[in-house]
């Protein structure tokens, strides 16, 4: 076995470096190869920061779904759409595959992301050793899938940019789209700040102590 305790791994380039024997509380260590910040296990604030971002995202998830995200005006008359009514209109038009894509990307994925990240955080805080491999896979999937929630914001951008025929037809962005974009960004940051190695580290620490 290679000695493990004193080695630190850079999250960006994977380079291993030796931990300094003494590091003051707010001192920062940089990866010798790529220069990214390397955090010591004991100064990691990953769990706290991820919780903060998740809670902020959960709060913003409410206006993101309740407020209208865009309004379509035809001949001066029009109605504002929330995400749900937008999905409903797609269904009405018989576009059920697209309705499904938008529903999953905009409503299910952010919600699932909030739940899975909370679940992973709680399991880390409880020092759980339960199905570590599956929990890591869950983290990878959550991290990858999250960016697809942005699709609705892009749709609004394309529609507002394209449909501008004066009084004939117009599409406006509404406040809900801002909250929605904020939810996507916050959950993406939350997934990034969660240090997934914590899932494995707990078992390792206990094995080392035993």
């Amino acid at each position: 076995m290679i000695k493990h305790k004193a080695l630190l791994q850079c999250r960006v380039c994977g380079c291993l470096s030796h931990a300094p024997t003494q590091l003051k509380r707010f001192e920062v260590m940089h990866c010798p190869r790529c220069g990214a910040r390397v955090k010591l296990a004991q100064q990691s604030t990953s769990v706290e920061v991820t919780w903060a971002l998740l809670i902020a995202a959960a709060i913003l998830y409410i206006p993101a779904n309740l407020l209208p995200i865009m309004s379509v005006y035809m001949l001066g008359a029009g109605q504002p759409d929330t995400i749900i009514t937008g999905v409903y209109h797609l269904l009405e038009a018989g576009q059920w595959p697209l309705a499904l894509i938008v529903f999953v990307a905009s409503i299910v994925v952010p919600l699932l992301k909030l739940f899975t990240l909370s679940f992973l955080l709680i399991s880390i805080q409880r020092r759980s050793r339960w199905r570590q491999y599956d929990r890591m896979r869950l983290y990878r999937i959550t991290e990858y899938v999250g960016r697809w929630s942005m699709v609705d914001v892009f749709v609004i951008a394309i529609l507002t940019g394209l449909v501008q025929f004066g009084n004939l037809a117009r599409v406006d962005a509404n406040l809900g789209s801002l909250s929605f974009a904020a939810v996507v960004v916050l959950t993406m940051f939350a997934a990034r700040t969660l240090d997934e190695h914590l899932i494995w580290d707990i078992a390792q620490q206990e094995e080392a102590q035993a």
Binding site: C34, A36, Q95, V151, V153, I158, G161, L162, A181
Partner: protein, 203 residues
């Protein structure tokens, strides 16, 4: 440099010893099965070709209109930049900025970084700039959302389908090509080999 090179799995942190593998082979983590490194002959040349193709396609995508709309005699065109800045006109500069970053700035940054990294390894330039760029490219990777934007274009196309006559512009196809080349470049590039090569340039 130690005699035996230790490497850790990027996914789970398991330690391994580096040893050379045959061309075309892949080394996997013994604990979680993640890819540790690959030996791909000709990787740099392929990535260079894909990057140059990608840069060309990106220019084409920005020059030509992405979509056009014709309704009751009036016509409207949308360029990639116009779609990015649509939120700006609506009074949401933050979202507009976010979209510009996601579909213009980060993809260009990634392409230029790949170019710089490949050329640095090939011609043994001083690696400090390439290391700096490659680090940030890896950190910004999740924020490049070309393929997500493409799905957005498709949803918009279907939504507008019965509203008016839609013209799919030349940029639409070059954009699709851009996504394919960038995905191929990402799939081909082995980060471990790149870091190792850049590190060697320093000696």
């Amino acid at each position: 440099m130690p005699e035996v090179e230790s490497i850790a799995c990027q996914e789970c942190g398991q330690l391994h010893r580096y040893h050379a593998i045959a061309p075309g082979k892949t080394a996997n983590c013994s604990r979680c099965g993640a890819v540790l490194y690959r030996n791909r002959p000709g990787m740099l040349d392929s990535v260079l070709a894909l990057t140059l193709a990608g840069l060309t396609l990106f220019v084409l995508t920005n020059v030509f209109p992405l979509l056009g709309l014709r309704a009751q005699g009036a016509e409207q065109e949308l360029h990639l930049l116009g779609a990015s800045l649509a939120f700006w006109d609506q009074g949401y500069p933050v979202v507009a900025g976010l979209i510009v970053l996601n579909i213009i700035v980060f993809p260009v940054f990634e392409l230029l970084t790949l170019l710089m990294v490949v050329l640095t390894i090939r011609y043994r330039w001083k690696p400090s700039m390439a290391i700096f760029l490659f680090r940030w490219m890896r950190e910004f990777k999740p924020w490049g959302m070309l393929e997500v934007f493409m799905l957005g274009v498709l949803v918009a196309v279907v939504k507008l389908g019965d509203l008016a006559t839609l013209i799919v512009g030349a940029a639409f196809w070059s954009f699709a090509g851009l996504i394919l080349t960038m995905t191929a470049a990402t799939a081909l590039l082995d980060p471990f080999s790149v870091w190792r090569a850049l590190e060697k340039n320093n000696d």
